[in-house]
């Protein structure tokens, strides 16, 4: 393929008499990193973001901001540009452009015909044509097949595919060591099971399979490579497991305590499992024990549940952006948004190379499993032995105290934490134990709104 088909024609240019702030503004405005410098229609140089950075004083400078701005505004592009840049003609091959960029260690080439600048070609254009060449974003199926390097292999492969009436859209060969090559074949069909079977029967090995339902952009490609998918999942699971260890500890105590307390009221492990699967809200399940031992009052149940769980509305608000593109798992992520899962989702970052969506999903799932298993264990223990569990509900208090300490240490700004404690304590005294949660929430919201400026200023420093 030729440079002319992939280049950007009529690129933005700058004159050598313009200044650094001018170049900076253009780059920021159009989201570009490099500009050809043109005088009277002729290319005289190129200027990149790196050139500008190099010309700017280092951060350790003793100049004042005013002096720096003045100096930069006096520096002309002609002083910092790269003169006599490497150029290419529009009729050259893309491979030549790639080789030139690689050998001269540059990220883009001005395209010049008869001394006149007609376009630019960048690394990204080369990457695009590479992706296109291998049919990576195209509709259909793409098989990567391992083949022994010997005569007749290609005709053998193509005849198998031809036999099933499929159209080959792409062919590429990676020549490997030890006489084996990887052949990339693009096929314009989604039903390739029989073709695959036939290929494998002929002694080839399918290394990778990629299927695109439609013409896709990189982030929407579905990988069907079994090893790849499993590897991604196991990596995300491992990373999530490490993150959830503190919750495992907390849930182990809380869940077991819940199971024991519940069984003390005549509800065995089956009930504990049912509640942990369906309700899945730690503090609410402790309150539910009270509700189950009182009289049958649905209105009261609804009201109390709402009061105790109203804080979850805050969690949802915090996660609106995070859950935006979670796709299929979104409903489960919303359902499983407990205090602990929420605090992990706030603080845990997926390690490099781990898919964020999978990572967060596994955090939610693992926590749920810990909770169910612990409450089942508690139910079993509670039904088998009888002992005095009085005071065991303190696990919940201890858990929140620990989370509070962790957050206190992780944040320099203690204003929100102090508001939370202070406002709730005042409301508890003013409204009484049964009615203080809703007023507390209202006053916390009010205080955070009133002190928004102060808090943001403190966050900034």
């Amino acid at each position: 393929m030729f440079v002319r088909t992939k280049m950007t024609a009529n690129p933005f240019t700058i004159s050598p008499d313009q200044t650094i702030p001018d170049a900076h503004e253009m780059m920021a405005k159009y989201g570009i990193r490099r500009l050809p410098v043109v005088k009277n229609g002729k290319l005289v140089g190129v200027v990149s973001k790196d050139d500008i950075l190099r010309a700017s004083p280092s951060k350790a400078t003793t100049f004042s901001m005013g002096e720096i701005t003045y100096l930069l505004s006096k520096t002309k592009i002609s002083q910092i540009m790269t003169k006599n840049p490497v150029v290419i003609t529009s009729g050259a091959l893309l491979e030549e452009a790639a080789t030139l960029m690689r050998d001269n260690d540059v990220g883009f080439l001005p395209v010049v015909d008869n001394g006149k600048l007609i376009g630019i070609i960048t690394e990204s254009d080369i990457f695009d044509s590479f992706i296109e060449l291998l049919g990576f974003r195209e509709h259909g199926t793409r098989l990567t097949i391992e083949a022994v390097d010997e005569p007749g292999i290609m005709s053998n492969l193509t005849s198998i595919i031809g036999k099933f009436g499929a159209n080959i859209t792409r062919v590429a060969v990676y020549r490997g060591a030890s006489g084996k090559s990887a052949v990339v074949v693009g096929i314009n069909s989604m039903n390739t099971a029989e073709i695959e079977r036939s290929i494998e029967e002929q002694g080839f090995k399918i290394l990778h399979k990629l299927q695109n339902e439609e013409i896709l952009f990189a982030e929407r490609i579905i990988f069907i490579s079994p090893q790849g998918d499993r590897l991604m999942k196991s990596r995300a699971l491992k990373a999530a497991f490490i993150c959830t260890l503190p919750v495992l500890a907390g849930y182990f105590f809380l869940g077991t305590a819940f199971g024991i307390l519940l069984s003390g009221k005549g509800y065995g492990p089956g009930w504990a499992i049912l509640m942990s699967v369906c309700i899945y809200a730690g503090s609410m399940q402790f309150v539910a024990i009270d509700l189950l031992t009182g009289s049958f009052n649905l209105l009261n149940t609804i009201f109390v549940t709402f009061m105790v769980n109203a804080r979850h509305i805050f969690y949802g608000l915090s996660m609106l952006d995070r859950f935006r593109n979670t796709g299929k798992g979104k409903a489960y992520m919303i359902f499983s948004l407990t205090d602990e899962t929420f605090s992990l989702l706030c603080s845990a970052k997926p390690p490099q190379g781990v898919d964020g969506k999978m990572f967060y999903f596994f955090i939610a799932l693992l926590n749920h499993i810990y909770w169910i298993a612990s409450s089942a264990l508690g139910g079993l223990v509670g039904s088998a032995f009888s002992f005095n569990a009085k005071g065991m509900d303190f696990v919940m208090t201890a858990l929140f105290v620990v989370i509070f300490i962790n957050q206190w240490k992780a944040n320099k700004n203690h204003v929100p934490a102090v508001i939370g404690i202070g406002v709730s304590a005042v409301c508890l005294i003013a409204f009484g134990a049964d009615k203080f949660i809703l007023p507390s929430m209202a006053f916390i919201l009010l205080s955070l709104t009133v002190f928004k400026k102060t808090i943001e200023r403190r966050n900034a420093t």
């Binding site: 305590a257 303190f394 208090t397 201890a398 858990l399 304590a425 943001e456």
Partner: protein, 111 residues
Amino acid sequence: MTLTPGQSLIIILVISFVTLLTRAVPFIFFPSKRKTPEFLAYLSGTLPLAVIGMLVIYCLKGTSVTSYPFGLSELISIAAVTAVHLWKKNTLLSIGSGTVIYMLLVQFVFR
């Protein structure tokens, strides 16, 4: 069991539904196409910090400081949790030791 299994089941299902509702409300009112308003973004950064504080108070709501033992069990146990957590930084240990201390206090010391 003071309720019949059927009544218990209904209570559990109602609790499950209301709990799910509290978690889903923001997603119902702010569908994913709209960008979260700036004020909500601010709240999502600061509210969690305040809410955990509120939950600590929520756990202590049944504690009476005006009659014997004047909330001493809670005070001592929370101090223990804090000290152990700052010292060992081990969640399991902090929660475990605090709870055991509290159970000993309410069952044997401040009866």
